[in-house]
Amino acid sequence: MFKNKKFNIKEFLSENAVPVVFLTLSIIFVYYSGTQPAIIMNDVVARFARNAFFVLSLLFPVLAGMGLNFGIVVGAMAAQIGIYTALALELSGLPAVLLATVVCIPFALLFGFLSGWLNNKTKGQEMLTSMFVGYFAHGVYMLLFLFIIGGIIPINVYELVLPSGVGARSSLDLTQIKGALDSIVKVDLFTFVFILAALSAVITVANTIKNKKLDVTKTVLTVALVVVGVAGNTLPALSMFKRVVKVPVVTYALIGILCAFISMFFKTKLGQDMRAVGMNMEIAEVSGINVNKTRITANMISVVLSAFGQIMFLQNLGTLSTYTAHQNVGMFAGAALLIGGASVTKATVPQALLGTFLFHLLFNVSPLAGQNIFGSALIGEYFRVFIVYGVIALAIVLHAAKKASGKK
């Protein structure tokens, strides 16, 4: 009589307003960009692969109650230190990426610890703190790369240092590691769909055996994937997609592993502690949870993951702007997460994935759409900057308003 739990379109729309709005916008923009959807798709597949780690890494601080951790830029810096080391040792390909990963971990842990410690000193202001951590770390990073590299630490590789011998070059060519992960296995879109279908089938069967009951939604998903795969391989209308869109399988596998890790993580004791701390620090403390330690841990995990993210990003891009590559990492990831429908206190893996997809789709199409709708690509360019900052500002204002009304 009082609550009907039927599916309610209005409720669904109001609860998912943000992703719905951005999805609609994306569709309009895709249409007006006048570009082949297959070409857009190929670009988005690549962008998604190189950005997903950043966005997923934000889940930890959000769930631990620290909001969007713009401080993940320090993770990107750790990654750049790793990559630079690999270059200085004249490694290439997969070994270079692996070495960079190994080198970046201790740095990322340290940076994560320090910024987490600072977050604990400024509880309630974590987003602001993490932004300033980014600026401060940028200064230290400049010092390292401008003066210490070549100045104190000798570098013997000519292409890595400025002609004076002191300081790193501002733009480094990463040809030798470009695609180190992406190019290991690349398949076309529909073969990838088949791989997903196979995976989904295995999980469905395993679940069915475990629960002794057919997992209906997963079965439907598997069948749907098979249908898409078959359609893509047979329908001429989709042949363009089959030819153009290439999926870096290893990169996606890593993203898949991270998603699985995150969902497992939040079923563990530490994950539960993190959620408790995120919901109410005082009560968590009174229950005996070490709040400060839990928050620092969340921050460290997030920074390490974003360091991995930056390595994946750079091996895809193939160049490194030594002094600027890390700069927008936090902002862009934060905006993507919000577009997926997350808030600064609540976020899920599907929201992170959806947000990454929508954000980069818009990023891809907005300049051309701007050109075609308003006759100026600049408008599209402004628009994407507007999305990033607008979405973040809005989320923070909404959060503040909610906090104020929650007190009453």
Binding site: M264, T268, L270, Q272, A284, S287
Partner: protein, 529 residues
């Protein structure tokens, strides 16, 4: 008993908050397996003493304390709640310590979750083990069963009625293993009588297992019924250690307050009029644990109407439904106009005020001053306390302070002044602020649920007197919901009894207890409904 060592001794404990000495050398001694009452007026320092025992952050962030804590004769050092738990101390705090976004079972097992092996745990150790959801459910269910509570462990805590939340906290404490001492800081303040009895029974069962219990309550009959010894404090100072068997309610209250407490009597009674100010027709309210199933009731203008009845029968739900706090159907007419249900704004705009039974969860801005808190609703809804300068309106600080001073005196709010932050008040004094707030908006009708819960025996009288005074002087209609029949009889004109979600009868307050008793048990023959 004599040769047993006390589980807990607190010796000459002193504590100051910002230069204000709130504990001036209190000592306390609790024996194993006993239920020990800690009594004192609102603001006497009971919660502060318990916060010290539990190592609460608020104590150590304000300069710590002086004095000694001993457990089983050994001096111990408690700096954090974690330390306290390590020594086997459990506590049900006066304010709720539950995470609303978590389920009942997640709260009961918070930071004590049973774990099981997991893939991540194999590599990364203890913190990465999975929660054992089955065990969590089983233990929670067992604790709830022990309390006789019919709750679903997987339900979210947010949205539960206060009484239920209190039982979730209690379930959490009794689920703890190795507990030697349990502190209950006014657990019954938000419980109905029936629930309170259930709790006392559970406490006795725990004490029989050898667990010592420190019990804080303002209901002195509970002290008499459940405890063996009593420690009384007044104004932060130790007053007396008593054997419950050798004392009585009058002595306890006199020791608490420092003077005799008079019995409330009402001077003038309302003349039965036929002017109906509010008519409730077929009201149904979906409040878990207090379901209202079709109430018809007429409230006369200028009267004090009591709503009584046994716990869980629905009396609490009526006001909550009218105020739009729980979903409701039916028709409520106030001064000839229909009040929209399920819409808190509508009720407030109709100048209906409400003091909720859940004063711990509702309505106080803890980091604002007493004066501002009292003024807020009147300011927002009626534009009172505002000075207009053209299009700009500013707060009238002088008027706000003056109004606050008036209520601080009338309700005896123990504070350092109207500018003190509400967070720094004792629990009972926070409740008085809630009442002052509702009264300041000068409602035409006020619903007060459990007006004297959590308020000490001296202040109780002040609160009831204030309600009576406003009724007589301002002609305000008052509807009091209370589970204490004696309290209702002492101030009300008429009393409606709610049984099984319906009003089974309305009697003049002067009727005999026997007649009310019959109504409550559901026997309605020969009485009009």
């Amino acid at each position: 008993m004599e040769n047993l060592k006390p589980v807990l001794e607190m010796v000459d404990v002193k504590k100051s908050y910002f230069g204000n000495q709130v504990l001036k050398g209190v000592s306390l001694k609790v024996m194993p397996g006993e239920i020990h009452a800690l009594c004192g007026e609102n603001g006497a320092g009971k919660s502060t003493l318990m916060n010290i025992l539990f190592g609460m952050p608020v104590i150590h962030s304000t300069g710590g304390f002086e004095g000694e804590i001993r457990m089983n004769g050994e001096v111990i050092d408690i700096k954090t709640p974690r330390d306290a738990m390590k020594y086997g101390i459990g506590m049900v705090h006066q304010e709720f310590m539950l995470i609303p976004g978590f389920t009942i079972e997640e709260n009961v097992k918070l930071n004590r979750e049973p774990l099981k092996e997991s893939i991540l745990g194999k590599f990364l150790g203890e913190p990465m083990k999975n929660l054992n959801r089955d065990e969590i459910r089983k233990d929670t269910q067992a604790a709830l069963d022990q309390l006789g509570m019919d709750m679903v462990p997987a339900d979210k805590v947010a949205g539960l009625p206060v009484g239920y939340m209190q039982f979730v906290e209690i379930a959490r404490e009794i689920d703890k293993r190795g507990v030697k001492l349990l502190v209950f800081d006014e657990p019954t303040a938000v419980l109905t009588e029936g629930e309170a009895e259930r709790l006392l029974a559970a406490m006795r069962a725990l004490a029989d297992q050898g667990i010592a219990i420190l019990f804080i309550t303002h209901r002195l009959d509970e002290v008499m019924a459940a405890t063996q010894h009593i420690t009384i404090i007044r104004d932060g100072a130790f007053v007396k250690y008593l054997n419950t068997a050798d004392t009585n309610v009058t002595e306890i209250s006199a020791l608490m307050v420092g003077r005799e407490v008079e019995v409330i009597e009402r001077a003038k009674h309302h003349e039965a009029s036929n002017e109906i100010v509010m008519e409730i027709e077929n009201l149904e309210v979906n409040m878990p644990g207090e379901m209202v199933k079709g109430v018809n009731l007429k409230v006369e203008k200028g009267e004090i109407l009591g709503i009584g009845g046994l716990a869980g029968q629905g009396k609490i739900g009526i006001a909550n439904g009218i105020m739009g706090l729980y979903s409701a159907t039916g028709k409520v007419t106030f001064e000839g106009k229909e009040v929209a249900l399920n819409n808190p704004k509508a009720a407030i705009n109709a100048q209906i005020a409400f003091v909720s039974e859940d004063r711990r969860g509702v309505g106080l801005l803890l980091d604002e001053s007493i004066a501002f808190n009292i003024a807020v609703p009147a300011m927002q809804n009626q534009g009172k306390f505002l000075k207009k300068y053209g299009p700009i309106s500013l707060m009238d600080q002088a008027a706000i302070t003056e109004n606050a001073n008036k209520y601080i005196e009338e309700l005896d709010i123990r504070c350092t002044g109207p500018n003190q932050n509400v967070r720094r008040l004792s629990g009972g004094n926070q409740q008085k602020v809630c009442i002052a707030k509702a009264l300041t908006s000068e409602p035409k009708i006020i619903f007060v649920s459990e007006p004297t819960r959590g308020i000490d025996i001296g202040a109780k009288r002040l609160v009831l007197d204030t309600l009576v005074k406003l009724n007589e002087e301002e002609g305000m209609t008052v509807v009091i919901t209370s589970s204490e029949l004696a309290e209702l009889k002492s101030v009300c004109d008429r009393i409606a009894i709610v049984t099984e979600g319906k009003v089974v009868g309305v009697l003049p307050a002067s009727e005999s207890d026997a007649k009310f008793g019959l109504l409550m048990s559901g026997i309605t023959e020969g009485m009009e409904g």
